[in-house]
């Protein structure tokens, strides 16, 4: 197997199973933490992607989310707070044959790591970034994060947070990300489909996962994650399909001017002017608008907001190297001699 391409396992021969991806370390998340479900989903998904196990690398920063690599029986790197995308960039560019996943959280990825997230996405580094958003800092025992709501009372904000939250999907889109998606830690089939698509995308794949921190922010996503509620409070995005939601498929989204509005109709009698999702639209404007749909006014969109093609960083960097090698020869002696030389007898 060479270093240039991410190889696939041959069609016949031993196939990997979920067990192959379970490490020997005891999982130490709090009982009931949403991270267990995400871990299980990833461990179940990876065998189906068809790459040899050694080709997967999980890189994390710091936080509960970032303990993830220790529980995967793959190459893993638990790095420093907010900086995982930087390690991932150097690794993927020098080793395009690896499939590199970055696991981060709302604090690690949007607070200290905000800058690196923006640049990894704009460079289209071929990494799969999973941002577990629980709207809190769990590992350090309960402080506000950049996605916590105004007024949130925590140990560091006993009078209520005064900071306005930011929206991870909006940040990703503003950073020119070529693949942006969202899923929730209670709908695992849906999550698996989204992750599968992220894995197959050539370039940066950003996935926000609504995750429940059972100890420090329990129920933060209840309205959109509970099975009994989510049909009415979320809308699934599907390319080429109109935005329809509700248990009875009796509500939809259409544009009024340039803003979305919720409309109700009889099941089966959807109006013809419902907004049709286009994940391939060259402009991120539609995706941006969808990203702004929040409770209580709108159902929260889930699924792939945007999926466009652009060369990945490693292709561009390695392309320039390949070009240089085509037109020149690496003559180190010539390089050392440089331009002007003289001989002393």
């Amino acid at each position: 197997m060479n270093d240039e391409e991410l190889t696939s396992l041959p069609a016949s021969g031993p196939m990997l199973t979920r067990k192959d991806f379970v490490s020997d370390q005891m999982v130490r998340w709090c009982p009931g933490c949403g991270d267990f479900a995400i871990l299980a989903t990833v461990q179940k998904l990876l065998p189906s992607l068809g790459h040899p196990r050694e080709k997967y690398v999980f890189i994390s920063g710091i936080g509960c989310s970032s303990r993830f690599p220790y529980y995967m029986n793959t190459y893993g790197f638990h790095s420093i707070h907010g900086r995982a995308p930087t390690f991932a960039t150097g690794l993927k560019c020098m080793r395009p044959d690896l499939q590199v996943w970055v696991v981060t959280g709302d604090g690690d990825g949007l607070s200290i790591g905000g800058n690196h997230l923006i640049h990894a996405l704009r460079r289209n580094v071929d990494i799969k970034i999973l941002l577990f958003n629980n709207k809190i800092y769990g590992l350090t025992k309960g402080q506000t994060s950049p996605t916590s709501e105004v007024g949130k009372k925590t140990k560091s904000t006993p009078y209520g947070s005064v900071d306005y939250p930011i929206n991870p999907i909006s940040i990703a889109l503003a950073s020119e990300a070529t693949f942006v998606a969202r899923a929730v830690d209670t709908d695992l089939n849906f999550l698996s489909d989204v992750l599968s698509r992220a894995a197959k995308h050539k370039g940066s794949a950003f996935v926000e996962i609504f995750q429940n921190c059972i100890v420090f922010n329990d129920g933060a996503w209840e309205e959109v994650s509970e099975k009994s509620m989510r049909d009415e409070t979320t809308v699934n995005l599907a390319h080429g399909q109109p935005l329809v939601f509700g248990k009875n498929k009796n509500r939809g989204i259409r544009l009024k001017g340039w803003m979305p509005e919720v409309v109700a109709f009889e099941p089966g009698k959807a109006p013809s002017d419902l907004l049709v999702h286009d994940e391939k639209a060259p402009s991120p404007a539609l995706a941006h608008m969808l990203a702004r749909m929040e409770r209580p006014d709108y159902p929260v969109p889930q699924g792939v907001f945007r999926c466009v093609e652009r060369p990945a960083l490693h292709e561009l960097i390695n392309g320039q190297v390949a070009e240089a090698k085509k037109v020149g020869t690496p003559d180190l002696q010539k390089l050392l001699r440089g331009g002007e030389t003289w001989v002393v007898q």
């Binding site: 490490s23 690599p69 930087t86 690794l91 560019c93 690896l98 020869t329 180190l332 002007e340 003289w342």
Partner: protein, 630 residues
């Protein structure tokens, strides 16, 4: 030729020598100075190339202002370039210039105090307008008020002469004015009997796309040269014989160029492609620029979004089994400290370049200093040892950066390579090494899958195995949390933590076995031992040699390994009555030596953003010998 029109204001006695007579001199130091927009660096570099071709030994010191283009004619805008060349060994760019070429009043004001009394002062009188004079606070023109009576003033109407030389060519006034550098250069070439061919060739190549400028610049050079001879403004000219340099093929090289070439060589000799993650910062940016040209060698350069991303990307590349480096100056090292700590904990190979500059904080970006030593030896949380290597001269940067890569791979550790603005931008002749004679860089052999444990150590080096991510059968996780010995699992066990802290320290200390015997310049015992590191090599060596020539009981050593220190150092230090440590800081190597060896070493400390003068070190040695303070 309008030479006859020029009134030459010289204070020497009337000459009765013919113009053909050349006075032979041993060595001379020339400083070119002018506005940032005047092309002073270019002029200086050309003179340097020509001097190298003339066979002299040389050393240079460019002196640029921090701002890109300060207002024309002002003091902050003065840019300088000093070159010391000789028929004997040259170790420094010269304590003080014998010749000052001042292109405008600001250049004169900023540099006159450094010119040796009786020195030659070449001035561009066309720039001495009342406006330019008042810009820098001259009430009257120094050319007229007798204030320059201590010097041999050669007043030249450089702009007018250049314009005259180029009449008939279809140049604008501005274009003709820009050629005055080459006119001045031509004059200086005559004064010191320098070959013109290298500069003529350079002009040809540089202005290839505009044949008019090739012709204009070459003409200005020729005419300036002829003018200096014919106009009899200098009196006579000088010859500086070839220096006794070891035979071989030479080129001129700056420290930053040597550093970049050393990195390409390391990649070639290791047979592993190189990733260089960096962020622009003075005076290290040139290394990024130089490396970015060499993609044919498989070198990937990455201009990261900040210093931390730069080092992060490099550590990521190392995790992938590739050669990795990051380069910066003092402020960047500060930003990278957390990531360096991670590299120490995950024990991956990495070279970190620190091209030091004046600090603290933003400090003096274009001035030299060596005040990062304690930062690189200690500046991380916890017990976090990192080996530190330092180059002694511009060309030595090649050797020491190569050594840094060798050590980082062999011992599985980040390694600091220390240089500074003076070495980085200064230049000297370099005997080009034969690639076939350079040592190969070997990675240790990987244990078998069955025997592999992520933190099992080699007995000789205490290094753990370097597994490239993606190697089947060796899957493991690394990270910044404390590791269990051998297995590499996360561990908070108290006994294990102490064991690991001591193991990491022992591994760095083991590197001492790589350090050859310390070379002592001079007697094995005596009154004074001078100990230096980094760019003070030239000034210290010259000072000590001067003292030794007078029979003074002094010796010197120069350290290129700062952590660990050489194993024979304790014994060497004990053989001298006094230990003097000249440093461009407040006493950092001094602290390390005193702490480790319990010697009452004393420092000579200069923190002016300028290198030591040879005389400063000589005086300190003399004082110590006489029983006083340095």
């Amino acid at each position: 030729m309008s030479g006859a029109d020029i009134v030459s204001k010289t204070n020497t006695k009337p000459k009765n020598q013919k113009q053909e007579t050349a006075e032979e001199i041993d060595s001379v130091t020339i400083r070119f100075a002018g506005d940032s927009g005047d092309g002073i660096q270019l002029t200086g570099m050309q003179f340097t190339t020509s001097t190298a071709f003339a066979g002299n030994d040389l050393s240079t010191l460019p002196d640029f202002p921090a701002e890109i283009r300060a207002p024309a004619g002002t003091l902050p805008g003065v840019s300088g370039y000093q070159i010391h060349f000789s028929s004997r060994e040259v170790l420094t760019p010269g304590d003080a210039p014998d010749v000052l070429v001042a292109m405008n009043p600001a250049a004169l004001k900023a540099n006159l105090k450094d010119l040796n009394k009786g020195g030659i002062l070449v001035v561009n009188t066309d720039a001495f307008s009342s406006q330019n004079l008042s810009k820098v606070g001259y009430a009257a023109s120094p050319l007229e008020d007798g204030s320059l009576s201590d010097y041999r003033v050669i007043a030249v109407e450089l702009s007018r002469l250049t314009a005259n030389a180029l009449t008939g060519m279809s140049l604008t006034k501005v274009q003709a004015e820009r050629c005055k550098n080459f006119f001045a250069l031509g004059m200086m070439y005559w004064l010191y009997d320098r070959p013109m061919e290298p500069t003529l060739r350079w002009i040809e190549a540089k202005f290839k796309k505009t044949p008019l400028m090739v012709e204009a610049n070459q003409k200005a050079l020729h005419v300036g040269n002829a003018f200096a001879e014919t106009a009899e403004i200098f009196g006579h000219h000088y010859r500086v014989k070839k220096a006794p340099i070891s035979p071989g093929l030479y080129r001129n090289i700056t420290g930053n160029e040597a550093t970049a070439l050393g990195m390409v060589a390391a990649s070639h000799l290791a047979g592993i492609e190189l990733w260089y993650g960096s962020y622009p910062i003075t005076p290290a940016s040139d290394i990024l620029h130089e490396l970015s040209k060499h993609k044919v060698f498989g070198v990937r350069t990455f201009q990261a979004e900040d210093e931390i991303a730069a080092i992060g990307s490099a550590v990521g590349a190392a995790f992938g089994g590739r050669l990795a480096a990051t380069g910066t100056s003092g402020p960047g090292v500060a930003l990278k400290s957390e990531a360096i700590g991670l590299a120490v904990m995950v024990e991956l190979p990495l070279v970190i370049l620190d091209i030091q500059r004046g600090g603290p904080s933003t400090g003096l970006p274009t001035k030299t200093e060596q005040a990062d030593l304690l930062q690189v030896v200690y500046g991380r949380n916890g017990e976090c040892p990192v080996p530190v290597l330092a180059a002694a001269t511009p060309a030595d940067c090649f050797n020491m950066v190569l050594e840094a890569f060798r050590i980082s791979i062999k011992y599985m550790t980040p390694v600091f390579f220390m240089s500074d603005g003076y070495l980085g931008n200064g230049s000297e002749p370099w005997l080009v090494p034969e690639v076939s004679k350079l040592p190969k860089l070997q990675s240790p052999v990987l244990p078998s899958k069955e025997q592999f444990k992520p933190y099992q150590r080699d007995d000789a080096t205490l290094a753990r195995p370097w597994v490239s991510a993606g190697t089947p059968g060796y899957e493991h996780r690394i990270g910044g949390l404390e590791k269990q010995d051998v297995t590499g699992n996360v561990s908070y066990d108290p006994e294990n933590h102490e064991r690991m802290v001591r193991l990491r320290a022992a591994k760095v200390n083991k590197i001492a076995q790589e350090i050859g015997p310390t070379q002592v310049l001079g007697p094995g015992t005596g009154k004074v031992l001078v100990v230096g590191w980094g760019s003070t090599y030239g000034a210290i060596t010259a000072a000590v040699k001067n003292c030794q020539a007078r029979g003074e009981p002094v010796a010197s050593i120069h350290l290129r390994y700062l952590n660990p220190l050489p194993p024979d150092l304790a014994e060497i230090l004990s053989r001298y009555e006094n230990v003097l440590v000249p440093e461009l800081n407040m006493g950092q190597l001094l602290k390390l030596l005193r702490a480790k060896y319990l010697v009452p070493a004393v420092g000579l400390n200069k923190i002016k953003g300028q290198p030591f003068k040879i005389s400063e070190i000589e005086n300190a040695i003399k004082a110590l010998i006489a029983g006083g303070k340095p």
